[in-house]
């Protein structure tokens, strides 16, 4: 029918634009109680006493519980789902009992008749603390005088991990003509999905079944973890629903304490329970992002050939290990150090350290933006130091389009790409030569104009499951997909993927409509409800189209095959001679399209079962579990032009060009929007955003008053282009599209700002590149020297 590849308007939008979004916080149930959690105001403190007497006596309070109540009833510790070798996993209770290990660590919970009463009563809980010295810096956790945060995590170092060819790396550096050294901080970020997390639970006393509504990107794994690790209700008596979810960006992947506490209370007091985070509560409880300190070196030959990189990173894991935390700075980070380049001597190591900060886990891009930031900053500084154009230096080192599949020295095998083509397109849209000559002109009149470039690679749709298992994953990375054709020919599609803004109700319907040759309007896509869909893995790592979409394609293939069998029987022909016309949705004998059996008639025939081939089961309901052979490898060429106001240090993004290769595209409008949103989010990290802790572990940016979110006026209209090299190993030929914007824009804009400051002799500043930081750097130069500085000027 030609849906795939066209910009179909979203079928989910009418409910959102009319205020009918079904978010968890909107759920109200009879006899509901409302929860509020008492949280630690200290980064690190011993809890000596918890007095809940006053809170319990407060009118309207139904119950007050502490962590000990949960432990006594058999609630298990919060699990970590990624175990690298020799990892020390801290014990994390849903409510802590012995110590608070970060500001916001939950200590007790109130259930009350009204949310305001619950909030009042939380203030009446009296917790006695003995404050302890805290550590917030990932590299200082082993310093003298720093206390051990968890008894079982020696030197506050949970794990060490390395990957690469050390010998080739050492050789590259010993034979290098030029070495670039950089110390980089990739700052702490707060995801800030606009919908704060929430959880509602209802216990059926009669059937002993629990329903949990939670703001999750992956309700099926949450059900598994609730069942097998924390709450202990059998999976077959536990239904987890993630209805409309207001953005995730990674922060809603993880199993959170409130998902344990809420159903536990619902069962304990036999009343529905509801917890909704305030924004400040989200700030101190949602797993955060990034926070790396890195020493990075790049080895080059005189002619600009990159021969190796050597990277040491201290990754701040926070006060506990969040669900997938150890994955992010290991297998999602060091594996990307080859970038778009043919270098052989790649080696990296990481130290995952525990600090008195909110736990860190996947945040849009998850490890890959951190890797791109390291590699693409190194390449950029190398270009400046060698006096080469940054685009030319990159081009000199690209893996050629004929070299795929390409095995990197850091485990990955890239599937497809044409890196020269993406840069051809980006430089053409930018009119790069003119951009550089305009920059020269601006510089000659004293203006601080910068042009930044980034060329990034992403490994999206983690796979295959066996490799993930070998790398430390406790789960597989396949996806389920059901195509259920009803007797009337209407279709319900069940997917294990989860949409929290991506638009799967539209794109997955496009896929199935084309696979079966039917109208999109006859298809309904269902996701996010373990009571309706098979086990599946959810949405993260830009996996939904490549893995979830492919599972649906496999099920549609099975539907087509069954319909061909039924049609062959009815038309008295052999199955091998049958043609399924995917344009028209009908089946006919090769050469006789005029005697076709339409989809609807065959669907009814499958259920009436009056005239089926011998041995064929009635019904038309196909399920597939698709385990991909490999990641997909989206890649990008981004170019930014910025100008800095020397009086204020403010950065103006004047132009932003993004050319991405995300393989085949199902819905160009939606893909473009993913890139746009990603660029803004990545720009936020480059210029404004930072989760700031003081030395005691106090989060100073715990509301949107202090945490600087990108706003509309900060951006120009983005100029977006596309190159498509289909992924050869999934049936749709798609690659992930959700994260590349963020991965590429952070370092692209950082490079642009540093390019603008290069004439002043400023080589590197850490993000966020705030007006204050830039103004101070400019002022320091002014005071320091008027000596001539050399810089790359594009000539």
């Amino acid at each position: 029918m030609g849906y795939v590849g066209s910009s179909v308007k979203r079928v989910e939008d009418p409910r959102f634009i009319q205020g009918k979004g079904a978010y968890v916080a909107n759920i109200e149930l009879p006899k509901m109680v409302y929860l509020a959690v008492k949280r630690s105001p200290y980064g690190h403190a011993k809890i000596t006493k918890i007095n809940t007497k006053k809170a319990k006596a407060h009118p309207g309070v139904v119950a007050v519980f502490t962590g000990q109540d949960l432990i006594d009833s058999g609630v298990g510790v919060m699990p970590c789902g990624w175990n690298v070798p020799d990892i020390q996993i801290p014990v994390r209770q849903a409510l802590t009992v012995d110590k608070a290990r970060h500001v916001g660590d939950g200590i007790a919970v109130v259930a009350a008749e009204h949310p305001y009463i619950a909030a009042d009563a939380v203030e009446l809980i009296d917790v006695s603390y003995e404050p302890l010295p805290a550590v917030v810096d990932a590299r200082k956790t082993t310093d003298v005088g720093v206390p051990q945060i968890h008894d079982n995590v020696a030197e506050n170092t949970s794990f060490e991990w390395s990957l690469g060819d050390k010998e080739a790396c050492d050789k590259a550096f010993s034979e290098a003509d030029h070495i670039v050294d950089l110390e980089l901080t990739n700052q702490r970020l707060i995801a800030n999905a606009m919908e704060p997390r929430a959880c509602v639970a209802q216990w059926n006393h009669a059937t002993e079944e629990m329903t949990v509504w939670t703001t999750s990107q992956n309700p099926q794994p949450i059900r598994l973890l609730l069942s097998a690790f924390t709450l202990g209700i059998p999976e077959n008596r536990l239904r987890v629903i993630s209805p409309d979810v207001g953005g995730g960006f990674g922060s809603k992947i993880f199993h959170y304490p409130e998902e344990v506490i809420t159903p536990w209370i619902a069962r304990e007091i036999n009343r529905p329970a509801k917890w909704v985070a305030t924004r400040s509560e989200s700030s101190v409880t949602d797993s955060q992002g990034r926070d790396h300190i890195t020493l990075a070196r790049m080895a080059l030959k005189k002619d600009g050939e990159i021969s190796g990189v050597h990277v040491s990173t201290w990754a701040n894991m926070g006060g506990y290990l969040s669900t997938f935390a150890p994955l992010i700075p290991t297998a999602f980070y060091i594996t990307l150090f080859a970038g778009l380049y043919k270098m052989k001597g790649v080696w990296g190591e990481v130290f995952g350290t525990i600090t008195n900060t909110v736990p860190v886990d996947a945040y849009r891009g998850a490890g890959r933006p951190e890797a791109s930031y390291v590699i693409e900053r190194l390449v950029d500084v190398a270009a400046h130091e060698l006096g080469m154009d940054p685009v030319e230096l990159r081009r000199k080192n690209f893996i050629g389009k004929d070299e795929f599949p390409y095995q990197t020295p850091v485990a990955l095998q890239y599937d497809s790409g044409d890196y020269h083509a993406i840069f051809d397109k980006a430089t053409s849209i930018a009119n790069y030569t003119k951009m550089r000559s305009d920059q020269d002109e601006a510089r000659s009149s004293g203006r601080l104009v910068g042009v930044g470039v980034s060329g990034c690679i992403e490994a999206s749709g983690p796979a295959p499951s066996a490799v993930a298992g070998a790398l430390g994953s406790a789960v597989g990375f396949w996806e389920s997909g059901v195509v259920r054709v009803h007797p009337s020919g209407k279709v319900t599609v069940l997917t294990g993927s989860h949409s929290h803004g991506q638009g799967h109700e539209t794109t997955f319907a496009q896929i199935i409509a084309d696979e079966l040759g039917i109208d999109m309007g006859d298809i309904e896509v269902v996701h996010g409800d373990t009571g309706r869909i098979p086990f599946g893995m959810g949405t993260y790592g830009s996996r939904s189209a490549a893995v979830g979409g492919s599972a649906l394609v496999k099920s549609a293939e099975k539907v087509r095959e069954k319909l061909k069998k039924i049609a062959a029987h009815q038309l008295e022909a052999s199955v091998e001679d049958m043609v399924y016309d995917q344009k028209e949705g009908k089946v006919y004998v090769k050469g006789s399209p005029d005697k076709a059996k339409p989809f609807g008639e065959l669907a009814f025939a499958a259920y009436s079962a009056h005239n089926l081939p011998e041995g064929l089961e009635p019904g038309l309901d196909e399920t597939s579990f698709y385990d991909p052979a490999n990641f997909t490898f989206p890649n990008s060429a981004h170019i930014a032009q910025v100008e800095i106001d020397p009086e204020t240090g403010e950065v103006d993004i004047q132009r932003y060009i993004a050319v991405d290769d995300v393989g085949n595209v199902i819905n160009p409008m939606l893909v473009e929007a993913q890139i746009q949103g990603g660029i803004a989010q990545g720009a936020g990290q480059a210029l404004w955003e930072q989760g700031v802790y003081d030395e005691n572990g106090q989060l100073l940016t715990a509301s949107l008053m202090e945490y600087a979110m990108p706003r509309a006026h900060a951006f120009p209209r983005f100029e977006i282009g596309r190159v498509e090299t289909p992924s050869p190993h999934n049936p749709l030929g798609v690659k992930g599209a959700g994260e590349m914007g963020t991965i590429a824009s952070t370092v692209c804009i950082a490079n642009a700002v540093m390019d603008a400051l290069a004439p002043l002799g400023i080589r590197h500043l850490d993000m966020p590149l705030t007006p204050e930081k830039i103004w101070n750097a400019i002022s320091a130069v002014g005071q320091r020297t008027t000596a001539k500085v050399e810089y790359f000027g594009g000539d």
């Binding site: 979203r10 409910r15 606009m194 953005g247 924004r279 803004a680 949107l704 006026h713």
Partner: protein, 166 residues
Amino acid sequence: MKLPVSIAVNGSATSSEVEPRLLLVHYLRDVLGLTGTNVGCDTSQCGSCTVLIDGEAVKSCTVLAVQADGSDITTIEGLAQDGELHPIQQAFWDNHGLQCGFCTPGMILTATEILKKNPRADEHEVRHGLEGNICRCTGYENIVKSIVAAQSAKPAKKRASKKGAA
């Protein structure tokens, strides 16, 4: 202590006895069950809870229900008329002006104010008009595009006359 309030919401009279501290957004969501107005922050930064009070876009988390006593409020649920989308709602749909949809009600109601004050607002003016509304998904581009596109859409008057004819 509870105080009486009478507030017209989306053309219907509502009244209740409320605590003086009850925020307007909680009156709309919890007392009236109008959950289209979302709460995205505690500090009046995000704009998700924007509604129209006597025609002016206001963040309903900054107003007490008792302060809104006697006023006329429009929420996202009240924008479409007779089953027909408001031109700004239609423009958001046509131009993919939303992803997760959480900030969308606030964006759409803010947009009505931007266009009321400046019916010919250009892209730059629309971007500045959205200063008080945060979106984490879209990078704002298609929100801005939607609001600019809504200016050339069918005026609401025409839809009103259709109502008269029916």
